[in-house]
Subunit: 596 residues, 2 copies
């Protein structure tokens, strides 16, 4: 078997629609980013600037994502002859980095991209950037904030102030005379439907956000003037709704609610803010798992328009304009976080103890037999580990070495069996992938710990907070079979500063399924499996080996934590000038805080 | 029943040894902090400066904690005639806020308090502050860092460089000629024993940190000169080891390993760094739960010394000096985070639908009967909620109101039954506390959502990351029975920005166990129970009502996240001058970002 670049594309998930458009591997086996017809090697960039790691920002990609999302809506609106319009806003919470906001302004202008501000500082920022589109103001407000909106009417096309409680409705009295003149009211509705997602507690009858029906009635009753000034209903079912089924229910509830409230109470309704929810495929597998939707962006848009249109035609009302809060989809890809490997440590031990069990492992002929031995070994190890109280050094040494030997020999034998009879072995291996099967655990466990010069808390806070998955890929040696499965450790003092999960979805027929050196599994062709280590190469002597985390451009900037005083990270910024030429600059921001 | 201040002390957990020393309630029912014989009302401070909230820093408390911890060690060392010494170091990772570091320097100087630095910026910072005690350098190093240590010998009494891999041992060659002259080597050992704690993955044979035995042997073999320069073994079993049993196993493993390695390989060993692990009682219940140890600080110290001493006497070796990494215990209390209530919203609905079930609730005579009805109600609600697809507004309105009615009536009836026959009712209520019992869920559920002017991501990041528990207590009205159980919402756009858990451990005989207004349970006397809402008061019209989170001084500063651009929070700093007079100053840092 000869490993080729195409194998790496498949293993590291570069074949999905989006990744295929953004990334590739060059003939030297290096990961490249595709920008404006050029292909830049990430490893080369890092080496050129002598950096221990960096966040690479590719600003033109923000433009590409804006065009892509807007294009989907505009095309679908036209095809379906939907008579409402597309009114995008960017929620500042997703990433308020100066360069991100500038890029959205620049690339979004032609679509009148607006802003969504959920706090006072976001509101002040949005007012300072200006838009001829919408300014949606939600979150908890106060009188000062409302006055600032009234005083800055030149900063937006229309401002819509979301109301979420009786107190907030009362606050409106402070600027009542301005309402109706570029400033309008939105009601944020507490959604009934509650899907399955990480942030699903954003919806449901007791959710943090939105008005229950009873509060709407009370507001209208106490402040009847409000009725005619409400032009928008705002829904938010939580970030990353991954199931197509949930989308249908959401959109149905939205348009139902809109229709009833418009007919009975709020005659001037004309916008639905569909909120966040469009899931970004962090796995690039379209698998319907927590970080990967089972639908495409296109399907999201088409499902929305179809449901809205059918409902409207049935009820004979005008179609609402769609206020679309596009955050993740637009900014997630623009940042790639890269870190250098500075130490490689054994996962368990650097030496092994020879034991009888190894003979037994060697004698097994099938995966099935090996699977039995794996179970037996695990029992032995667990028994030994349970007697660790008052352990003496001699026994500890033996134990470390014994575990190491077992973790080396079982995978080695599995690979051997596979090489002899692939079809049968594969079938038996596939049966082993159920969690809890000891053989599968041995085959997918890391044998090394790679220390990378970065802080997980600073670069991928959502991995720490939510165990959010980000695709990982080496920046070089991609023309070679990975040598090992490894845990990635950061340089913080915190045991949470590690990443070990790797989602593998090899295509049918991919037969090069073992690592070179530690004989671990790279996946099971045709299945989505989770490995407990990341496929990486053993760098050659004096070779600088970098590892990239993809799609880190949404939320990871604002949530960055300064654990262990590791604040900031070098930046490489890729931009374009007015002649469409690429400009690359870098900022060695905090570079000295990271070991080389 | 008349509610008194003493009831509030018990409900809000101010009676524990530490809290009793730091906090009290004054005759106006306000929470006060006790500093140098003075009692300051927190609510008054906040009102005086007109703040929406603040982190209050009480720097003299850092001094008190330092004296307390050092006192425990010094006293116990003397009593036990332990012949090793106490060598404290402060780990910068816990909180590197300037004022915190200054205070540790000031109050720790008389104990030669040293520093522990785990990253390059921490190392540079520690070198700039100086100590005549120890400087322990662990974490991932590079040549530059080691050179800085060698170039700044005036900055510490002794520096000990922890080695964690073969690469790091090799790095030592760069400064080899300095080693032995104020600079020494430590080996960080990968502990075998793995306890049950949140950070327990810091230990065990495959943990992120420390050398396996095999690596130690390899290092000594390849670089034999190192043997004589290793003076310290460093252990870290993870933060917050809450079980007394685990302590014993930890200390036993430490001293076993020390003895063997000293006798066979490392003759100059003289320090054991016992690492972090001393658990801080965030609940103030000494309950052995995740955030509350089942031992006191004193027991920790005495257990350590006892085990070390016995072992040493058995083996006839000199007792190791104890390098103690005291972080949380010293700085956790110094910061109190306070936020103002700016909105109170219904948890479910503002109105109710009258239904037959209410009659049935009214007719029940015992908690047992009510418990059956609660189960029935829950089934009904769940059935109704499962039909929410295509729900029309009329049905939604009925449903909201019906749920509201049930959530109002069941607790009301429970209180009524309790008032009639306390003993029987209490017994039956206690039986209901098992999770999954519907009645208990109704009785401990919130009826309100209090919006506080703060960001949980900024103020209590560990609550977001780990669901870490922090004690919550209102700053006023503590002479009155709490009115409701409430969820506390922050002002971020994130559904994770809520706190609802309240741990109640009422003493036997506490009989005022229901809230005033929504008739929820405040606890079960003699039991530790978890409520799903926080006992709070309905503020009087125009009253400013503040809520405090206690013990937020460890880790919450460095982990603060800037979600929704909510970075920074006002600060009130309480310090003392050289005449032991209190000085209070404030910084309205980002005040305008928080709604008033």
């Amino acid at each position: 078997m000869v490993w080729g670049i195409e194998n790496s594309r498949e293993l590291y998930g570069l074949k999905g629609v989006l990744n295929n458009q953004l990334f590739d591997i060059n003939e030297k086996g290096e990961l490249v980013v595709k920008i404006k017809g050029k292909a830049l090697s990430i490893a080369e960039l890092l080496k050129k600037y002598g950096l221990p790691g960096a966040n690479i920002r590719i600003l033109p990609w923000i433009g590409e994502m804006i065009d892509y999302i807007a294009g989907l809506f505009l095309k679908s609106i036209k095809e379906k002859n939907y008579r409402g319009s597309f009114r995008p806003v960017y929620p500042l919470k997703v990433n308020h980095h100066e360069l991100v906001l500038k890029s959205i302004k620049k690339y979004g202008e032609k679509y009148s991209w607006g802003w969504e501000a959920g706090t006072l500082p976001e509101l002040y920022k949005a007012l300072s950037i200006k838009t001829d589109g919408l300014l949606v103001v939600d979150g908890v407000k106060d009188a000062r904030g409302l006055k600032r909106i009234a005083e800055n009417k030149e900063a937006y096309g229309e401002a819509i102030i979301d109301i979420e409680s009786i107190r907030e409705a009362r606050l409106l009295e402070e600027i009542r005379k301005h309402i109706g003149d570029k400033i309008w009211i939105g009601f944020r509705i507490r959604p009934m439907f509650r899907g399955e997602s990480i942030w699903s507690s954003s919806s449901g009858l007791s959710s943090k956000f939105g008005l229950p029906l009873s509060s709407i009635y009370k507001i209208i009753e106490k402040q009847p003037w409000i009725k005619n000034k409400v032009i928008m209903l705002h829904f938010h079912y939580g970030s990353q709704i991954v199931a197509r089924d949930a989308l249908k229910k959401m959109f149905t509830e939205m348009i139902n609610t809109y229709t009833v409230l418009k007919e009975k109470y709020l005659p001037n309704l004309r916008y639905i803010d569909t909120g966040g929810g469009l899931a970004f495929d962090y796995e690039s597998t379209l698998s319907g798992s927590l970080y990967s939707p089972d639908y495409t962006f296109r399907e999201y848009v088409e499902t929305m328009l179809k449901i809205f249109k059918e409902h409207i035609e049935e009820h004979g009302i005008l179609p609402p304009d769609i206020v679309f809060e596009s955050g993740r989809a637009i900014v997630a890809p623009h940042r790639i976080s890269v870190a250098k490997v500075i130490d490689i440590r054994p996962y368990i031990s650097e030496s092994r103890t020879e034991i009888e069990l190894v003979e037994k492992i060697h004698s097994s002929k099938t995966i099935k037999e090996l699977s039995e031995i794996a179970r037996e070994s695990e029992n032995i190890i667990n028994r030994l580990l349970s007697f660790t109280e008052n352990i003496d050094m001699k026994r500890r040494e033996l134990l470390e070495g014994m575990i190491e030997a077992i973790y080396e020999e079982i995978p080695k034998k599995a690979k051997e069996i596979y090489m002899m009879d692939r079809n049968n072995a594969l079938k038996e291996l596939a049966e082993n992938t159920r969690t809890g099967r000891p053989l599968y655990r041995y085959l997918t466990s890391p044998s090394r710990r790679y220390v990378l010069s970065f802080s997980l808390f600073n670069i991928l806070p959502d991995n720490v907070i939510l165990n959010q998955y980000f695709q990982v890929i080496p920046c070089s040696m991609l023309d070679r079979r990975p040598d090992v499965l490894a845990t990635i450790s950061d340089i913080t003092c915190d045991s949470m500063g590690e990443v070990s999960e790797f989602i593998s979805k090899l295509p049918e027929g991919f037969d090069d399924i073992f690592t070179e050196e530690d004989n671990r599994l790279l996946g099971i062709p045709g299945k989505r499996v989770i490995l407990r280590g990341i496929p990486l190469h053993l760098p050659r002597e004096n070779e600088e080996y970098y590892v990239a985390f993809l799609h880190t451009g949404a939320y990871q900037d604002p949530l960055a934590m300064g654990h262990n005083m590791l604040e900031g990270y070098p930046e490489i910024i890729i931009d374009e000038n007015s002649d469409n030429e690429l400009i690359i600059r870098y900022d060695d921001n905090a570079k000295d805080h990271y070991p080389q």
